[in-house]
Symmetry: C2
Subunit: 256 residues, 2 copies
């Protein structure tokens, strides 16, 4: 999940798309690469023994920082594990900026643990990033195969897309040739307004089929679920957020 | 405006509080310290000759990067000027991190130009920051007399308050003894839900009279106004956003 614009639902999408995929039998690993650690707290995770910070400092291997979330009910065939984050990661920008290969610290840690990670049989690894295109997000882009850009109907979010696509192109050319945009997801849409429709049409023109068919509407149940540390499909299965993130997961599954 | 949590309406508050103060005869200087430059584009400013980046690089003095916005109608007695930003500021973290006194670059530039700036007779200088507590935000905190923390009713925004108050206390102790929290502003409140009321009560308990009486409700006209590059009081004087930001400006004026 990448977008340097703040508050566009990167974390909300990581949690709820992950949970919808797990409900459909996929094994999901969530990786929190944001010092704010909202993904970690958003799924109610509390024992922070080893975090992504320890992985990047090479104090532990990537696989050793993987924890089960224990969220999955019996009848889900898929699981959700997490690599948690912690505020100590906040100084990563300065701490790692002088290191050789600073952009691929995370990728190398992942590669080193590849045997153990693939043994766990994950179908999806979802990385959440902070609202910046700094070193942490570049590390996530270097590791990822593809990226999802959550975007709310706002001129500020649209303004940032040019810079975001520049950085993606740069990472793709210099570090990670397989990186591609999997899709752009319109989020926090207030159904009662015309600005959202205009936005969808404009995005469709600019991004074509890169724009997901699924649109996530403003739904306060999504925020309430986070207060309880639960994904929406475990908090309120009748919420519009549950249906919409389910639809998004189906879009991904249909292209597997 | 400070809050490392993204999308809590830092920029929206800077623009609309500034415009409400100008409508009431106050002279306002907006300073955009965010590389995303949403404050700059949100008031429709386009000629970016000299920006905050040139000021921090000491290529120009602070006063030389001040431009009139030309937004004020005839009948407003106050004016709104701006120091614009530009994406080139995005590398400031790495570019200035090795400099001695890196936390007070902005403050020194402001102090050097103090004669010229006070000649312009500003009643309020409003700094907008990026969703981070890195070097740029610390520069803004070193310069400011007081700060406003916009906060939306969300567990993620609340989680971040502890780290934010830690950093504020640190800046106050080590760099800027006069820094104080002017107030916490609840924003993007969806009037139809109970989560917002619970939030207001909880914030009142924790922050007491630091919590502004004014609450800003979710109002799509605020986003629409930004698409037009206008503050809400020039875009739609009947919008709830216009009334609420007017009320906020009155709270500040009553404590002058
Ligand atoms: N569809 C939605 N309806 C209502 N609220 C939403 C929706 N999506 C996200 N939110 C709320 O909006 C806020 C921002 O979402 P979130 O924190 O997921 O964004 P983010 O992009 O991860 O933010 P940051 O840039 O700070 O990392 C949160 O309070 C969240 O609960
Ligand atoms: N009261 C409101 N009602 C509806 N939309 C709002 C309101 N306040 C802000 N917004 C919208 O929410 C989005 C986030 O607001 P804004 O960009 O001002 O937040 P920010 O804290 O400055 O974000 P960032 O962390 O990226 O700098 C924008 O699209 C804005 O138009
Ligand atoms: Mg987030
Ligand atoms: Mg902003």
């Amino acid at each position: 999940m990448v977008n340097q614009k703040g508050g566009v639902a990167k974390t909300t999408t990581a949690i709820n798309l992950g949970a919808a995929l797990a409900e459909r039998g996929r094994n999901v690993l969530l990786v929190d690469v944001d010092p704010q650690a909202n993904l970690t707290s958003g799924i109610g995770f509390v024992n922070k023994k080893k975090t992504i910070y320890a992985v990047m400092k090479k104090e532990v291997g990537f696989a050793e920082a993987i924890y089960p979330t224990g969220l999955e009910p019996e009848d889900w065939k898929g699981k959700i594990d997490i690599v948690p984050s912690h505020i100590e990661l906040a100084n990563a920008e300065l701490e790692f900026s002088g290191e050789i290969g600073r952009e691929t610290i995370l990728k190398e840690a992942f590669e080193d643990a590849k045997e153990r990670i693939s043994g766990a049989g994950y179908d999806y690894v979802i990385l959440d990033t902070n609202p910046s295109l700094g070193l942490l997000t570049v590390n996530a882009l270097s590791l990822a195969d593809s990226l999802i850009v959550p975007l709310e109907p706002s001129i500020f979010a649209l303004d940032g897309m040019e810079h975001l696509t520049d950085v993606i192109r740069l990472v793709k050319r210099k570090i990670n040739t397989k990186l591609r945009i999997r899709g752009i997801l319109l989020t926090r849409v207030d159904g009662r307004t015309k600005i959202a429709e205009e936005f969808y049409d404009e995005l469709k023109e600019v991004f074509g089929d890169k724009l997901f068919d699924t649109v996530i509407h403003q739904n306060v149940r999504l925020s309430e679920a986070q207060t309880e540390g639960l994904p929406i499909n475990l908090y309120d299965e009748k919420a519009s957020g549950t249906r919409e993130y389910a639809a998004l997961s189906e879009e991904l599954i249909s292209n597997e």
